[in-house]
Structures are given as C-alpha cells and as structure tokens.
C-alpha cells in the first residue's frame, strides 16, 4: 500500500483535496528581495506565553542584566516552552501588556531595554550529531523554546519525541496564504540549514520517507532545496499545485499521500508527522549551534508600505518598529489597520505595541484601495441566498451554509452533528460568499461557546461528585458522633456504678468539694458581699489551704469538680448583682473600643480582664435588651470569675485557659458590636447609661485593680502583644461589619445575636 503511494509521489503525480480557492497571490511584492537584517529596536516586549499551553516560571526579575540567548522562563511541565532574551539588555518591567491575540487582551510580558551591545551568552557548538543521544536532542529542542512556527505554536519537543512508528515525515514549505513569503525566502537562503534540521528530525523519528512539500509558485525555493537534498535518497522535494489552503495539515497530507485524516483523528494516528520549514531551521540552530529561538522571518507587506520586504525580526519586537523600518505611510484621518497574519487567517492587532511572537509570520498593512473591507466599520452582510458556493470550496468537506444557519440559531447540538470542530478556519467559504457573510466569524463564536459549555458540564460533574462526597462524609461523622456519645455515656454509667478506687476517689473528691463549698459559704457570709471580686479574692485565699490535704493524684479532678461547684455558686451570687453589673457593662462598653487601640501595648492584662468582664456583662445586657431569657447570660459572669480562679489555683490547665480567654475575647468583640447596634435602637437605655456612668465611675476601677493583681503571675508565658492586636483587629472588623449591617433588617441582627451567643457559650 505504501509502496504505490511512494511510487506515485516519486512520479510527482499527487492527489487533490476537495474545494479550495485561488485568490490573487500578491507574493511578488516581497518575494524578490532578500531577508533584511534589521537594526536593534530600543525596547523588546516579550510575552511569557507564545505557544499552545501554559507560561513558564519566571527566572529573572526587574533590573536584571540579561545576555542574548539567556533563558527568561523555566519550563516545569511538558506543555510549557521557555522563552529567551533575543538580545542583551536590562529588564525594565514585567507587567501586563497587549499581546498578539484577536481578543486584544493583555498578558504578562517582560520589557527588555536593549543596551545595543548584543552580547551572546556562552554557547557550545555541537560539531558531530552522532555524539548526542535522542534524549539529549529532545532536551536541547525543549530548552531552546522551539514551538511550531507554522502558526499553531505546538511545543516541538513533544511532537519530535513521538514514540509511535512514523511512516512519513512531511516538511511543510507550501505557504499557501497570499502575501506571505517568509517560508519562501528562508528556503531560498537557508536551504542547507533547513536540510540539516530535517536530518536531526530524521535521527529522532526515523521515518520511512521524508517529503518536503513546496507549492509550484516558488521556483527558486524548489531549486534550492532540490540542490540541498540531491544526495539524500530519503528526502524528496514534492512540488504541489498552488491552491489555498494546500498548506493546511490535513489538506497537505491528502495531497501528498491520498490519505484522509478522519474527523477527530490526528496525523500521528496515521503514522505521519508534519513540521514547518522554519521550525526545522530553528531546530538546527538549537541543536548544532546552541542558539535558542530568538528570531524569525517575518513578511512585512502591503501597499501602504514603501519598503515591503521580509525581515529577520527578533521575538518581542513591537509591530510599530517593523512598520517604521519598512516605511509605513500614514493614512490621513484614519487609523491604519494592521493585520497580523495573512489576509485569510490573520487578525487585526489591537495596538501597535503588540510584539512579534514565535507564531507571527506576517504583518500586513493594506492600503484602502487594496483592501477596502479592512477600512470599513460596518459589515456588508446580507441574507444567505443558498447558492452553495461555500460548500463547493470547503477543504474539510463541511456544509458552511448549514453551519451558518445553526450558528446563528445557536443550535449547538446540531453544530456538533455537522462537525463544526473539523473547521480549520481557513476562510475560503467567506471569501466566495456573494452575500459577504463573515462565516468564519460565526464559527469561531460558536466554537468558543461550545467549548465553554463543555467546560461548564465538566464543572457541574465535579461539583456533583463533591456534593455527594460531602453528604457521605457528614453522615459518617454523624454516625461516628452518635456512637462515641453512646460509648461515653455507657462508660460514665459504668464508672459511676462500679466500686473502683477512682470511682470512690471521685466520690470522695465530690464530698470534699461539697465540704469546701459549705466552708466557703460560711466564710463569705462572714466577710460581707460588698464586691463580688473581693469575694473571689477571699475564695482563692480560702481555697488553697483546703486543697492541700487532698490526695496528689486526685487534685486535678478535685480542682475541676471544685471549679464546677464554684461556678454554680457564683451563678447564684451573680444573679443578685445583676443590676450593678449592667452599669459596669455600659461603662466598659462605651470606653472599650476607643481605649483599646491606644492602650494596645500597655496594661494588656487589664484589658484582657476588662474584656472578659465586659464580655460577660455585655452578654447579659444584650440578653436583657433582647428580652429573651437564656441561661447563657448568667453563666457568663461566673465564667469570667471561674477563669480567674483557675489561674490563681495554678493547675496544669493553661491551654483551656487560653482558649477560654480567646473565646471570651471573640465573644466580647461580637457581643460588643451587637450590643452597640442594639443600644443604638434602644434610645432610652442610652440616656440611662449616660446618667449612671457618672455615678459608678469610681466603683468600676477598684475591682479591675484587684483582679489584675491576682492574675499577673499566671500570664507570664503568653505573648500579650499579638492577642491584643488580634482583639483590636477583631473589634475594628466587627465595628465595620456592624456598620455594614446597619442597613439590614433588625430581625436578622436579632437572630444573629441569639445564634452567636449560643455558639460562643
């Protein structure tokens, strides 16, 4: 089968593909002049991504001095290709800039100020290809940043590293698009280098045959390559008839081998690989001369230029520099349209600072006479007359008319059925359409929509899976929690009922605690109930002698139980003191937010204590204003004093203390803010506050001082500053949040208050 194909190829009798058009070539403008070496521009704008895939990681930063050929990004995954400095200079900026993309969007670019020296980095020339292994060569190609230069920008090292059997390697020198002569010139001038590059690919892929396809409108290029390959049996120069789009991958394969690469397939599946001639030249430069991809041939053409020609453009050269060099004539009263690419597949650039990238092969600057449609603002589109010319010229044998109907109706399932994904965007259908319908435009919009819908579908699938997993996890947790509770309850019951030493010890500890409480009650009643903090002080002093005689191993347990008892007791006491506590709360509430930022460094312990008290009292106040009776309120004051008690007893439970404090602080902040909001509403209560503030100012200071003395020693290991800062932060944030929530419904605030209060307890 392959034999007859190759026989036909040797004879020069090729196949043909369906459709195609013959637009005026316009290549004479630039085909006769040699490639010009330009002067260095002042600044280069190098986008980080110039290929299909993702950007590499930056290796340089602003202010770095770079040498010509130095790598600027690092490739960390196979689909990433690095970029290199096209000349020596200093990195002046790394920022977003408009790139060569039809969207006109910006991407991250490196701004390189050229120093004019053009100093190379050190290069190692490889004289003998045989010394390099295939892996070495692939690495060199990857490190040199070579991507497909025919227009797609696919990372070359992936294509060249193909593991499957390659039957035919096709080198694409067809260049079918009008105006462009970049490949033509490079074939004319650098045919030997190109053939050297092909030899490298030959070493990597070992194909059975190598075909170099050139259209018959490039006689000089054909001659040059025929001369370069005359001694190499494997390589054949194939002259194909000129037709647009013969240079398309699938079309060229069909012309040369008669094989159709079916829809959804890749050429590699048919054992064929295709590379552009410029890519081969770059591969040769990279592997033999250690020169990374830093320049390419660009055809700068169009009747609006006085000196249209091909140039060696450094990657990153802004388009306006090229236009200046080729003598662009300013268009009066209008913006000169600048097209990157050819007239069929190119796009208008959004700004003249757009840089040349690895895939830019042409800059087309048409005059008004040459291309009036480029200057027109509105489109001349009229109704489709169903002439059918579009399907006659479609190289992919699609039905552009049907595609147009469905694209306009946004009928995406129908578009998929009509194989919209096989459209190569060549523009032949739009070229022949008598109604001047911009067909390719509709297809591009539809393709983007379909792609997005597919992405959304994938996302929805993922979200569903996560949701199901979460449901499962919550259920499992619930079951585990229930099992644990049951076990704990059973254990507790067993412990209570069994006659073990711990149980008896616990029981005796309980009895001891009860005894202690009774003693305390007697003592406090003797001491008087002028201030609840004094009572606390007396408790702590009374407590320690009683604690001592209890057995060593039971003291933590005993202490814990004693604490619980104390809590209960103080709850009752606090209930009596509530009216006075309200007053204290008001004062501290008003004073706290203003004082806190100022006192951040000093008296941190006092602040903490105050906050705790304030938290408790504020909670109580909030509850009162809310007219909702909840047990949490009464627990809060005893909790504050219980915390103090813990520190004074100096047990080994510092961590819960800290947690308690933090919790109290957060609760303080939240409750404070909430109370503030509520207080704003209850106008008469605020008035009350102002009055009482004056009378009780003195009374507040005394308990604070007493408290501070008791707890100073136990707080030595904590770092006060961050906690105070955090508190300040929290308070500020809460204040902000509350200001925001001012506009919302009052019921919402109320529900939040009750909800959060429950949680913080």
């Amino acid at each position: 089968m392959v034999e007859s194909v190759i026989e036909r190829i040797t004879r020069g009798h090729f196949w043909d593909f369906h459709g195609g058009i013959h637009p005026p070539e316009q290549k004479v403008i630039t085909a006769s002049k040699p490639i010009k070496q330009l002067a260095l521009p002042k600044q280069l704008i190098i986008p980080l991504q110039q290929h299909i895939g993702r950007e590499g990681d930056l290796l340089v930063k602003i202010g770095d001095q770079v040498l010509k050929g130095q790598a600027l990004t690092l490739s960390t995954n196979p689909m990433t290709v690095p970029i290199h400095a096209p000349t020596s200079g200093i990195i002046s900026a790394i920022k977003m800039s408009v790139i060569a993309h039809p969207s006109g969007l910006s991407q991250l670019c490196i701004f390189l100020d050229v120093d004019g020296e053009d100093t190379w980095r050190d290069r190692v020339v490889c004289t003998d290809l045989e010394t390099l292994s295939n892996n070495d060569i692939i690495e060199k190609i990857a490190d040199a940043g070579i991507a497909g230069m025919g227009g797609a920008g696919f990372p070359t090292h992936i294509k060249a590293n193909s593991k499957s059997d390659i039957n035919i390697l096709i080198i694409n020198g067809a260049e079918c698009e009008p105006y462009i002569t970049a490949d033509d010139l490079i074939m004319m001038e650098q045919s030997n280098a190109i053939v050297d590059g092909i030899k490298i690919l030959d070493k990597l892929l070992s194909p059975a045959f190598i075909l170099i396809a050139i259209e018959d409108n490039k006689p000089k290029a054909i001659k040059a390559l025929q001369q370069a390959t005359q001694d190499i049996e494997k390589m054949k120069v194939c002259v194909v008839p000129t037709k647009y789009p013969a240079g398309g991958e699938k079309q060229l394969i069909q012309i040369l081998t008669g094989q159709e690469v079916t829809s959804g397939q890749l050429p590699i599946d048919a054992g064929i690989i295709m590379q552009n001639v410029a890519t081969c030249f770059a591969i040769n430069e990279a592997v033999r001369h250690d020169t990374p991809l830093i320049r390419r041939v660009v055809t700068v053409t169009g009747q609006a230029l006085s000196k249209p020609q091909n140039v060696w453009a450094l990657l990153g050269t802004p388009v306006n520099f090229l236009l200046e060099q080729c003598g662009v004539q300013a268009v009066e009263n209008e913006k000169q349209p600048v097209i990157m690419g050819g007239p069929m597949m190119g796009f208008s650039v959004a700004s003249e600072l757009v840089p040349i990238v690895k895939t830019s092969n042409c800059i087309l600057v048409p005059s008004r006479k040459e291309m009036p449609s480029a200057f027109e603002k509105e489109s001349n589109e009229v109704e489709c007359i169903r002439c059918g010319q579009c399907s006659d010229v479609c190289p992919s044998q699609l039905l552009p008319q049907e595609l147009q109907w469905s694209a306009k109706a946004k009928d995406y399932p129908q578009l998929e059925k009509l194989n919209l994904s096989d459209c190569i965007d060549c523009g032949a259908c739009a070229y022949v359409c008598p109604s001047q319908i911009p067909l390719v435009h509709y297809y591009r919009v539809a393709k983007a929509e379909i792609r997005q819908l597919q992405q959304l579908d994938l996302k929805a699938e993922k979200a569903k899976i996560r949701f199901e997993a979460r449901k499962l996890r919550l259920e499992k947790e619930k079951i585990a929690r229930q099992a644990k509770q049951k076990k704990a309850a059973a254990a507790r019951k067993a412990a209570m009922n069994k006659a073990t030493p711990e149980a008896t010890g616990a029981k005796s500890a309980v009895a001891a605690a009860l005894a202690r409480v009774k003693a305390r009650k007697a003592a406090s009643q003797a001491g008087g109930v002028d201030s609840k903090n004094n009572a606390t002080g007396s408790i702590s002093s009374v407590d320690e002698p009683i604690d001592a005689p209890v057995d060593e191993q039971l003291s933590p347990v005993a202490a814990a139980i004693a604490r619980a008892k104390a809590k209960k007791k103080l709850k009752q006491e606090a209930a009596l003191l509530t009216p006075q506590s309200d007053v204290l709360a008001k004062e501290t509430l008003a004073g706290e937010p203003e004082k806190k930022p100022a006192k951040a460094e000093k008296q941190i312990n006092a602040d903490d204590k105050k906050a705790k008290i304030a938290a408790a009292i504020a909670k109580a106040k909030a509850k009162n204003l809310n007219a909702a009776s909840k047990p949490s309120a009464s627990v809060a004051p005893p909790r504050a004093s219980a915390a103090e008690k813990t520190e004074s007893v100096q047990t080994s439970v510092e961590k819960p203390t800290n947690a308690d404090d933090k919790k109290a602080k957060i609760a303080a902040a939240i409750a404070k803010a909430k109370s503030k909001a509520l207080a704003k509403k209850a106008a008469q209560v605020s008035a009350e506050t102002a009055e009482l503030e004056k009378t009780s100012a003195v009374g507040d200071k005394v308990p604070a001082q007493v408290v501070q003395d008791n707890i100073v020693d136990s707080k030595n290991e904590r770092t006060p500053a961050p906690t105070a800062d955090k508190k300040a932060q929290i308070a500020a944030v809460i204040a902000k949040a509350k200001a925001k929530k001012k506009n919302k419904e009052s019921s919402k605030i109320d529900s939040n208050v009750s909800h959060n209060d429950q949680d913080s307890v």
């Binding site: 637009p23 005026p24 316009q26 790139i99 993309h101 039809p102 969207s103 006109g104 969007l105 009008p178 097209i339 007239p343 190119g346 796009f347 208008s348 048409p366 040459e370 291309m371 009036p372 449609s373 480029a374 027109e376 489109s379 523009g427 739009a430 070229y431 001047q436 911009p438 390719v440 435009h441 509709y442 591009r444 919009v445 393709k447 983007a448 929509e449 997005q452 992405q455 959304l456 996302k459 929805a460 699938e461 993922k462 979200a463 569903k464 996560r466 949701f467 997993a469 979460r470 933090k662 957060i666 939240i670 929290i730 944030v733 809460i734 902000k736 949040a737 925001k740 929530k741 939040n752």
Partner: protein, 189 residues
C-alpha cells in the same frame, strides 16, 4: 332481540379486549423512571437550594413528579429550555421569586471571595458550602478554591463579619469568547 345481541357482541368484544389489555399491562410493566437521571444531568449541580429543594437531585425528582420547571436560578434560560424539551412541556420564564440576591442578571459567572483581612476563622462558611470549596479550620484563615466554587451564594449569609463577596471571574485568553462585533473577516479583491 337485536338490541340484546348488539349489547352482547359489544360487551364480549370489550371483555376480550379488556382482558388483553390487562395481560399486556402486567407484561409491559415499567418500574424505574430514568427521567430523573436525565433531568439531573441537565441541572447545573450548584446545589444552592434556590429552587426550594435541598440540592439538584431532589429538584429533578420533583420536576419528574410535575413541579414547575422554571425554579432553577443558576441554570437560567438554557436549563429551562432543555428541561422543557425533555419533559415535553412549555418553556416558562424564570421564576423571579427564586433568584436570590439583588445582583443584575449578567452572563459573567461569579465566584466567592474571602476578604482575608476580615476573616476571623469561625468556619461558618465552610459548613455552609455544599461542595466543600472552602479551605480552612477553626481560627485559621479561610480561602475559597476558585476552581470548585459553583457561585451558589450560600456562604455569603452565614459569615458573621460579612467578609465574603461574589466577584466575577476575569477574562483571560483561555476563557475569552469571540465577539461578533469585533473583527470582520478580511477579503481580497
């Protein structure tokens, strides 16, 4: 006599056919209803609950049982049209009462974003997220995983310090849509 015969004939005919149908109904009994799966596949899986059901599957079940098809806010017009096609019912305009929030109906997708300076680490948003798209733990910073966020809005309300807001995803060249009004195809003359 003729009347009696007529009645007899019709009656027996009816009886025979009735028996046949009865047998057929048993033989061709349909048990499961795969329509719920198909409906669920159309819904956007944000699990936001704006339709009034706790998730997309329950709403799919409800629609199969006859619920109105225009309750899915994140799905939008597209989803309603697809459900209408599948169920063979009329396309209804979206039910405005089920659209949460006061944001204008724009086509740009939104994801949640935590303003990290304000976050206090309360984990309330983590518990609210139906697809576990928030990383964090108690008293640790909370962050939204943008790739997993479905934009359902459920985390915004529970935050006690109001530090979550919905932001549009930025345009990048990877998600850029061609615009019909931008570049016409150039033609040679």
């Amino acid at each position: 006599m003729n009347i009696l015969l007529a009645i007899l004939v019709l009656g027996s005919l009816a009886a025979v056919f009735g028996a046949l149908l009865g047998f057929a109904s048993v033989r061709f009994k349909v048990d499961a209803d795969p329509i719920v799966e198909q409906l669920d596949a159309i819904l956007p899986q944000t699990q936001c609950g704006q339709c009034g059901y706790p998730g997309c599957k329950p709403y799919a079940q409800a629609v199969a049982d006859g619920e109105a098809i225009n309750k899915c806010a994140p799905g939008g017009e597209d989803t309603i049209k697809k459900i209408a096609d599948l169920m063979g019912v009329e396309v209804l305009p979206i039910d405005e009462s089920h659209v949460q929030g006061d944001a204008p109906k724009s086509n740009r997708p939104k994801v949640a974003f935590v303003i990290e300076e304000d976050c206090i680490g309360c984990t309330k948003c983590i518990q609210a997220c139906p697809v576990d798209a928030i990383i964090g733990a108690a008293k640790q910073m909370h962050t939204i995983i943008i790739d997993e966020c479905t934009g359902c809005d459920l985390c915004v309300a529970p935050c006690p310090v109001d530090c979550i807001e919905m932001r549009e995803l930025p345009d990048t060249i990877h998600n850029w849509q061609w615009d019909l009004t931008s570049i016409p195809v150039k033609q040679l003359d």
